[in-house]
């Protein structure tokens, strides 16, 4: 599958060079960064739809304040695309500094868009001392949905797409699209998925596409018209069969994965999706989910990707943002993040106990995200 191309060799080389040259720079400079950051507030624009994430960030705020005199203000957005929109507006208005956002939680198409428009602080990764801890060799952290990170963002956590079903829905942990369709046939109205362009809803479509096209290699390259015309019909055939058996006969969808979880807890739905392999366990412990549920993944593998922290080029509190990032990828912060009592999001650094990982499937190239969303909406909305 691997084909030689100049950029594919060149880019890691540049990244490595940057990492190496930045190391010396960061060491000398870090104390002055800490000094500059003291007393500042970092406006962290991040999705606010998860209670456990919100609680975790509150803890991070307390710790940052205690250790470094930096406040982390979580500005909750329902979709981080809002922040991208705002940065574009700033750019159009020529606002090169004094921006409202200091730190972003992004990946995939949002990162792709910000990188394309040159809206992110360059060489961010190289100036963070704790980058030494990152498992860059073991995990595919330097490619965000097929797009090189190029030091513009810092890995924060990992996601693996998995399904959680009421007990007895599926007989084995690994399932196929056919098994899902059979279940929906036998239990009409009990299956649904978050409405694309919801991130997790689109990932569900991607997983189906992988399975239905036998993992066609064109999925991992920029989507061209030919590939779209060749690959998508299999998905639409499948969804045309599935939709009449969905909740509300596929005329309305959960707005988000979180809503899907709530309806799973209610028993309205028999299935929910997550990007976090430990979310089910965390939810059961918190009393948010009954105990008779089980975790599943698609037989061809769970789509695996990472999520990142980035600083806008026009951020006001860049030093404080760096301090926050450095803290968030530190061992203790990652340990707590991975703990199912708190958030349960897999770590990007080595922890004492190895977390539970599912068999992996590669993330599609970022361009497929837009294609899938657009075609899905055109077809079903």
């Amino acid at each position: 599958m691997y084909r030689f191309s100049l950029p594919s060799v060149f880019k890691p080389l540049v990244a490595a060079l940057l990492l190496w040259s930045g190391g010396a720079f960061a060491g000398d400079d870090w104390s002055s960064v800490l000094e500059e950051a003291r007393g500042d507030t970092v406006y962290f624009y991040a999705w606010g739809g998860s209670d456990s994430v919100n609680q975790y960030l509150r803890w991070a705020d307390r710790e940052l304040n205690r250790q470094y005199g930096v406040r982390l203000r979580h500005v909750k957005v329902s979709d981080i695309a809002e922040a991208v929109h705002r940065l574009r507006n700033d750019q159009a208005a020529g606002r090169a500094e004094g921006g409202a956002m200091d730190l972003l939680w992004i990946n995939g198409e949002n990162f792709h868009a910000l990188k394309r428009d040159d809206l992110l602080e360059p060489e961010l990764l190289t100036t963070i001392p704790n980058r030494e801890n990152l498992l860059l060799d073991e995990l595919p952290l330097l490619s965000d949905f097929g797009v090189p990170v190029d030091g513009l963002e810092v890995p924060w956590g990992m996601g693996q797409f998995n399904l959680v079903a009421r007990e007895g829905a599926f007989s084995s942990a690994s399932i196929t699209p056919e098994a899902l369709l059979d279940f929906a046939r036998d239990n009409p109205g009990r299956v649904s998925y978050p409405k694309p362009p919801d991130f997790i809803g689109t990932t569900f479509l991607k997983s189906l596409l992988q399975a239905l096209t036998d993992n066609d290699e064109r999925l991992y390259q920029p989507a061209d018209d030919e590939a779209v015309a060749a690959l998508l019909p299999a998905l639409w055939d499948y969804l045309d069969q599935l939709h009449p058996r969905l909740w509300e006969e596929g005329e309305t969808f959960p707005q988000s994965a979180a809503q899907q979880w709530q309806w799973l807890a209610d028993g309205q739905l028999a299935l929910a999706f997550s990007f976090n392999p430990q979310e089910m366990e965390a939810k059961i412990r918190a009393g948010r989910l009954p105990e008779d549920v089980s975790q599943h993944h698609f037989a061809h593998g769970a789509i695996t990707n990472s999520h990142y922290l980035a600083v806008p080029r026009n951020a006001t509190h860049k030093a404080a943002a760096r301090v926050a990032i450095n803290f968030l990828i530190s061992g203790p912060a990652q340990q707590r993040k991975a703990d199912t009592d708190h958030w349960g999001d897999p770590a990007v650094v080595r922890l004492k106990s190895e977390p539970h990982r599912l068999p992996t499937a590669e993330e599609l190239h970022a361009s497929w995200q837009d294609v899938l969303e657009e075609h899905w909406l055109a077809r079903y909305q």
């Binding site: 998860s50 909750k76 109205g189």
Partner: protein, 564 residues
């Protein structure tokens, strides 16, 4: 009468009224229009083609048109049918319903009537039906009908209040008696003689309700359909999206929203004509109402009579549901009660609620006061001149859909590189508290018998003293209620807070919507509960003030002033 006053005071009142009008109506509309037009000029034909190709266009338009046409109309007739009974102390009943924010009400109604709501759970535990949640209960978690019912129920109290206020402006009792001497039943006289008069006076309140229904975003985001959503929701989502096409679509979409608004306002005007036309036709064909129609009418009228107890019951249910969810530990279908009650939501959220409450209260108290004072200044100035401005000018903020208005502000702030700031949000809130305060007050204020002021002045008191010692105590009740309603309007603002405040100014309402996207019922219940409690607490306080300290002079403005 102005001549009796010192010139400079009249002048300063005029300046004040002019300033209020400029700052709360003129500037906001212009400040939105100019940057907005800038965006409109940027549109080109690919942008419009792209917009026309966006999926679900027609469905979303039809959803909105149907919703903003039927819900206010049905609410209007329910209010008219119920208004016939003219129950005593109606204001006391209505104000709690009025003060509940739409969002909290919507959340609570879902907790009660969704397929996993309390009602279905109660049926399960009583009758053993619905072993698993029914596919379709009274209200689906998300659907057009859910949205329709919530908005309908929530709009009736406002229209009923407006009916009450209009009733004090016309000699309704005499109309009813006249109708009866012509041989109509009392009820028929109400519909034949009084209602046409009321409809004329309901024109502006109805327009406000129609525009609200068309442009509300937070409630459909939570409970509306989403494949596609209603039109305002679509435009809001384009506005939040970052692609260039979405930005263009948001502008074209908001233009279309304005066109929808104009269509609906026109339909609203036609509705009144159709009603009187029908009456005329009915009069020409036969003087007496056919028996079957009268039967159907009386049946519907009796149903409408149930509205008050029903609404009281639902509101109490909403309060209870929010309260119980906020204290719930694990609670799964079909349990009627949580498996465990727990303080954990309250304990973990309390420290974070306090700054939110502070922010919400600060915005609401100041903007309600500004709105109220501005309304009083404008009313007083008009009363002294004894000439009234056309109401629609003062209420303009209610007749422009909120989304294009706020989008224009956002474009403007960004173009002038102004930081998202608390002050801008406050100003944005005032733009909406002012018209509501004005609408709540204007009826009673205009009916106030100004001879009292003359009497006071002839006794040697200055006009200012007379205003404070005579007018204000007599109008205390409507003034306080107007303030409370303006307060709850501010508490409930979502779009201006979210867009103008850039997510940095966070109130209970924006937090509740953001948490709503996460679906956790405990948190949603907790924040919706607080959104509901704030105005209710203020209302209780207001009721206490009114009840404790009745003015000695006169405690019932409407009977005194109605004759004047």
């Amino acid at each position: 009468m102005a001549r009796a006053l010192p010139i400079n005071r009249t002048l300063s009142l005029r300046t004040g009224a002019g300033l209020c009008l400029a700052l709360l109506v003129g500037v906001p509309v212009l400040a939105s229009l100019l940057p907005y037009l800038g965006q409109v000029v940027d549109l080109n034909s690919p942008a419009i083609t792209g917009f026309l190709n966006s999926p679900g266009l027609v469905t979303a338009l039809v959803y909105s048109l149907l919703l903003a046409f039927t819900a206010p109309l049905l609410a209007c007739y329910t209010a008219l049918a119920f208004g016939y009974y003219r129950p005593r102390r109606l204001l006391g009943w209505l104000s709690p319903f009025l003060s509940i924010p739409h969002l909290a009400f919507a959340v609570g109604v879902l907790f009660l009537f969704s397929p996993t709501g309390w009602l279905v759970r109660a049926l399960h535990s009583l009758l053993g039906v619905f072993e698993s949640p029914p596919a379709s209960a009274l209200l689906a978690d998300r659907s057009w009908f859910t949205l329709f019912w919530v908005l309908l129920l929530k709009e009736i109290p406002f229209l009923l209040l407006m009916v009450q206020s209009a009733l004090t402006q016309i000699p309704a009792e005499r109309y009813l008696q006249a109708g009866q001497t012509l041989g109509h039943s009392r009820r028929a006289s109400w519909w034949l003689l009084v209602v046409p008069e009321l409809l004329t006076r309901l024109r502006l309140p109805m327009a406000a309700v129609v525009i609200y229904t068309l442009s509300v975003v937070d409630v459909p985001l939570l409970i509306g359909p989403n494949l596609p959503g209603v039109w305002a929701q679509q435009v809001f989502q384009w506005q939040q999206d970052f692609s260039a096409q979405a930005a263009h679509s948001a502008v074209v979409g908001s233009l279309l929203l304005l066109a929808l608004a104009l269509t609906l306002l026109w339909l609203n005007r036609q509705h009144e004509r159709v009603y009187t036309g029908l009456l005329r036709w009915h009069r020409r064909t036969d003087l007496m109402t056919p028996r079957w129609l009268s039967r159907v009418g009386s049946a519907l009228q009796s149903v409408a009579r149930l509205w008050l107890p029903l609404m009281a019951l639902i509101s109490l249910g909403v309060l209870a549901a929010l309260l119980v969810w906020s204290f719930a530990g694990s609670w799964f279908y079909p349990d009627l009660w949580p498996g465990a009650f727990s303080l954990s939501t309250w304990q973990s959220e309390w420290p974070f609620l306090l700054p939110l409450l502070g922010q919400t209260l600060r915005l609401a108290l100041i903007s309600a006061s500004v709105g109220l004072v501005a309304a009083l200044v404008c009313l007083e100035w008009q009363a002294r001149r004894d000439r009234y401005w056309p109401q629609w000018i003062l209420l303009l903020g209610l007749f422009v859909p909120q989304l294009p208005l706020v989008m224009g502000w956002q474009f403007g702030l960004s173009a002038f590189r102004l930081d998202p700031h608390w002050g801008w949000v406050l100003w944005a809130h005032c733009v909406f508290t002012f018209p509501y305060a004005y609408l709540m007050l204007s009826g009673d204020y205009r009916r106030f018998n100004r001879r009292w002021l003359l009497v006071g002045q002839s006794l040697g008191y200055s006009s200012l003293v007379c205003w404070f010692r005579l007018l204000l105590p007599i109008l205390k009740q409507p003034v306080i209620y107007a303030w409370v309603i303006a307060f709850s309007v501010s508490v409930a603002q979502y779009l201006p807070t979210q867009l103008v405040g850039a997510g940095r100014v966070v109130t209970i309402t924006t937090e509740a919507v953001n948490i709503g996207s996460g679906g956790d019922r405990r948190l949603l219940g907790f924040y919706a509960l607080w959104q509901m409690l704030l105005p209710l607490a203020l209302l209780l306080l207001a009721a206490l003030i009114i009840w404790r300290r009745r003015p000695a002079l006169n405690n019932n403005p409407s009977t005194d002033n109605g004759v004047a």
